[in-house]
């Protein structure tokens, strides 16, 4: 079982993701430079956070054109698990692998804080075994995390069970106050129709060890390993 951690110019959470995978949950991980056009031999793909290409034009707008994104598209179409975190989520949106777009936080401030997330579906490889309604404590760090999609897209996401995480309070109530960036319907993470591609603004790789303030992020990577093990069994 081997996971790919993509590295673009400006990625800065790639080592955190690698550490969480390799040293915390103990799955083989390898960096893959964005100029690679193949993901052969990999079982899962992590698109880490950062500021690819300095966020030129729009967050993720340049990275979507990197050669590796063609490979990610084929990998995703084949049902392989893909998780995009923060800037990785923005790249998935720009690439059209997930619907919607990100705009500037409604506060106009960079937000860097622990938030609570309410799990909305266990159908993704990263939330398998995490019951709907579970509250996870995971940090965010972004300036453009204000999720936007038109009303039709938002309703369709809800109807098809594609809203994976919503910002909530510590008791799991989805409230205006618990929304750190103004995201439509408190959306913090969504998946594609197939469920195998997940994009989320919060950083599970930054909270995969209790010593770092929360171990909740690890649950997503543990779920991914269990999902892969079940698939190959």
């Amino acid at each position: 079982m081997k996971t790919a951690v993509l590295v673009f110019p400006g990625s800065n959470c790639d080592h955190d993701a690698y550490h969480a995978l390799k040293h915390v949950v103990g799955v083989d991980a390898e960096f893959v430079w964005h100029k690679s056009s193949s993901l052969g031999g990999f079982d899962a793909v992590v698109i880490p956070g950062g500021f690819t290409y300095g966020d030129y034009l729009r967050s993720g707008a340049m990275a979507k054109l990197s050669p590796v994104m063609g490979a990610v598209r084929r990998f995703a179409e084949g049902g392989g698990p893909v998780i995009g975190i923060c800037n990785g989520f923005q790249i998935l949106l720009e690439a059209g692998l997930l619907p919607g777009a990100m705009i500037v936080n409604d506060s106009l401030r960079f937000v860097c804080d622990y938030v609570h997330l309410r799990a909305g579906t266990d159908r993704t490889p990263f939330t398998r075994g995490i019951p709907v309604g579970t509250v996870l404590k995971i940090p965010v760090a972004h300036y453009q995390g204000n999720y936007y999609a038109d009303e039709g897209t938002l309703s369709s996401l809800e109807e098809r069970g594609q809203v994976v995480f919503r910002y909530c309070d510590s008791a799991g109530n989805v409230t205006r106050e618990s929304n750190p960036n103004g995201s439509a319907r408190n959306i913090a993470g969504i998946c594609n129709e197939g469920g195998n591609v997940l994009g989320m603004m919060p950083h599970p790789e930054r909270c995969s060890e209790i010593a770092l303030g929360s171990g909740d992020g690890r649950r997503l990577f543990d779920a991914m390993i269990a999902w892969l093990a079940a698939r190959t069994a």
């Binding site: 034009l57 707008a61 949106l93 705009i103 506060s107 106009l108 204000n146 936007y148 038109d150």
Partner: protein, 79 residues
């Protein structure tokens, strides 16, 4: 030949920067400003390929890269 491309947020998409600028203008005592929308302006220099062809290529450039049509609209001026 030169072209100008304007990319702006669609009506209905919240523009927090525009809102903040509008508030700042009123703090400066510059009144009567109802709304401010912040966008991007790009100047593109092209080979002499003709206006129609330039428009066709720039339209594709806007759709595929320069604008995100989920949230933005664009306008191309040539010449």
């Amino acid at each position: 030949m030169k072209a100008k491309i304007y990319v702006t947020l669609k009506r209905g998409v919240l523009d927090p920067q525009g809102k903040a600028i509008r508030t700042s203008l009123s703090h400066l005592g510059i009144d009567g400003v109802d709304d401010v929308r912040v966008g991007k302006f790009m100047e593109v220099t092209l080979k002499e390929i003709g206006v129609e062809e330039a428009r066709r290529r720039l339209d594709e450039a806007c759709r595929r890269l320069l604008a995100n049509t989920v949230i933005e609209e664009y306008r191309i001026e040539i010449g």
